[in-house]
């Protein structure tokens, strides 16, 4: 529900929040009320004009809620909202089940990513809110796996760097090459897609816009140097993530059921059901090393069907890995976990 809306339901929701606020504070400035309700001052005045028509069911003028409109409109307006004769609306509504659940689940996420001292504060807060939301809330029906505190810290640090416009030095792992390298970037923005957090940044070493997945950042440091502004058009996320996808060569994989998740994870050009539980997928391959690593991971549930040189490269990679186990030194390493010569 958006409180900024002009529908009746939203208007009633705003008024049921505004009246208690006035009751608690005596009077509230129009601007402050608009901000607290997430709407405009004009809308608050429109809301108050509705309130003016409400009250006890007797139909006498005394039964109606009184709003001092002169203070809001006209020459003598001081912009302060004053309402009287509405004591029965002095408390805000109970949290709805979804509101209570959303808030409590959010707090649990805060708890999981907090250091010890803050955890204690969150626990106290949770206890109070769970009590206040006792009825109807289904927060026990929503569970999160532990939010990784490290990941949350990376994100918070980067958010600060974006807000302050500072350069960041990060150590980033590129899975395609299985290499971790250091680079300095001008952070642009953060977002989440498909369960992962991403940073869009201007990479100073590559001199171009790059997208980094936060869980692949191994170390980072916010630098004193200010980030430069880069007025290149914002990148489309999926394009940025799979930029290689349009350029690479087309490779074809045959997937047995154990590898049928592939088209869910990677952008594929085409999926064909070829019977007997087999899928054939065509995907664009920029760096052949990426395909090799994928084929290795999928073994024995996938066959690379083409192009022929990639088929050969993948088989070769498997052969090389297999050779480790047949090398004389490897049998030694296996039978003697702490071989001679170790210092």
């Amino acid at each position: 529900m958006s409180s900024a809306g002009t529908g009746a339901r939203e208007q009633v929701a705003r008024l049921l929040t505004l009246v208690p606020l006035l009751h608690a504070r005596g009077s509230v400035r129009l601007e402050d009320a608009a901000e607290a309700l997430g709407t405009t001052t004009q809308q608050v005045v429109r809301d108050l004009k509705v309130l003016l028509m409400c009250g006890l069911p007797g139909g006498y003028p005394d039964d109606l809620i009184d709003v001092d409109l002169d203070a809001l409109e006209g020459e003598d307006a001081d912009g302060v909202i004053r309402v009287s004769n509405a004591d029965y609306l002095s408390r805000p509504l109970r949290l709805t089940p979804t509101e209570a659940t959303a808030l409590i689940v959010a707090l649990r996420a805060v708890r999981d990513s907090s250091p010890g001292a803050t955890r204690e504060v969150v626990d106290r807060t949770l206890a109070k809110l769970e009590q206040a939301a006792a009825d109807g809330s289904a927060h026990r029906q929503v569970e999160l796996d532990g939010t990784d505190p490290e990941a949350a810290e990376v994100r918070t640090t980067l958010e600060r760097a974006v807000a302050e416009g500072r350069q960041v030095r990060l150590t980033y792992w590129v899975p395609t090459r299985d290499e971790a390298g250091e680079r300095v970037v001008d952070p642009v923005r953060l977002w989440t897609q498909g369960g992962f957090d991403y940073l869009e940044a201007w990479c100073r070493s590559a001199e171009g816009r790059r997208v980094f997945r936060l869980d692949r950042i191994h170390a980072l440091e916010v630098l004193e140097e200010p980030a430069d502004a880069h007025d290149e058009a914002p990148t489309d996320l999926s394009e940025a993530l799979f930029a290689h996808a349009r350029e690479g060569r087309l490779a074809t994989l045959r997937l047995r059921p154990g590898a049928h998740w592939v088209p869910e994870y990677y952008p594929v050009e085409e999926v064909r059901h070829v019977g007997e539980g087999l899928l054939e997928v065509d995907l664009r391959v920029g760096d052949p090393r990426w395909l090799v690593r994928l084929a290795l991971r999928l073994a024995p549930h996938a066959d690379v069907l083409g192009p022929p040189d990639l088929v050969w490269t993948c088989r070769q990679a498997a052969g090389d890995a297999l050779a480790l186990y047949d090398a004389p030194s490897s049998s030694m390493a296996r039978s003697h976990p702490h071989p001679r010569g170790m210092t």
Binding site: M1, S3, A8, Q11, V12, L16, P20, L21, A24, G38, V50, C54, L56, P57, Y88, L89, P92, L93, R94, L95, E99, A102, L103, A106, A109, V110, S113, T118, V122, R124, T125, K128, L129, A138, R140, Q141, V142, E143, A152, R155, D178, A180, Q193, G194, P257, H260, L279, L296, P300, A317, A318, G319, A321, L324, A327, S329, A333, P337, G341, M342
Partner: protein, 326 residues
Amino acid sequence: MAGRKSERLLNLLIMLLVQQRFVPKSRIREILYPDQGEEAFERMFDRDKEELRSLGVPVEVGTLDAYFVDEVGYRIRPDELALPEISLDADEAAVVGLAGKVWQHATLADATTEALRKLAAADVPVDVGALDVVEPRIGADEPAFDTFWLATQERRPVVFGYRRPGEGSATTRHLQPWGVVRHSGRWYAVGFDTDRGEERVFRLSRVEGAARLVGEPGAYEVPDGTDIRAVALRLVSPPDHEVATLLVRAGAGHALRRMAVQVEADVPGPDRRTTWDRLTVHGHGRTVADEVLTCGADAFVEAPAALVDDVRDRLTALAGAGEGTP
């Protein structure tokens, strides 16, 4: 016009709130819907009650007295309507403020904002942006998420199309959702599968088309003592954590290094092309095997023997795929 309707909704709320007893339906009609015919009144009144209820206003139905059982009345109890007293200390308020930024999902971000507004209206000081701690984020991109969330909140069964990997087309499934669980960045619904007659877990990203709520709120009960996280974990990933010893080439195997609980640098390895590090990793056997394989000739399993055999078998299959051995 919104104004007229808001006015009617508020007046209805006030009328039912300030009376001690149930207000007869006839009186409600007389006061608030004087110009409506019988049918139009019934329709409007039903809709208005539902709108109030959707805002969290508890509209109760009851009979007026023992002699006129067919005359129904309505009331709203002040103690049911109002937010209970709650006082937050400054640091608690800061934590609540932080929670307001956690959801990256439109419906739930709005719900949290609304909750904070209500707390603020009760003069609970909700301090947004005071605490300098890390800020977690919870997203939910799955289109089916909203439906399953609502089903969970209201205990309503859901019908949906579900396609498991490897299936050509979706099948229609019926679930009484007990809860939703986020695991490794993905959302799952846990519940009782009425087609199969047992508890099941569904990955929401595999739901095809629109999931539909069927049945009334409170249509089923969640079994007492259900730990939905435990159910999800049990069904999503069998608990076969094991310890493995691996050799990884210096500078390679970053994913494995992240799983490592112990690293011994610069040890002899299966070849002398580079130096090697010995890692002790904890993980599901399958996950470790997948990561080792991904590294190709940069990773080597020392123990356990079952993992060595698994990796060798899988490598043999790939190396020999097509025609003979390379």
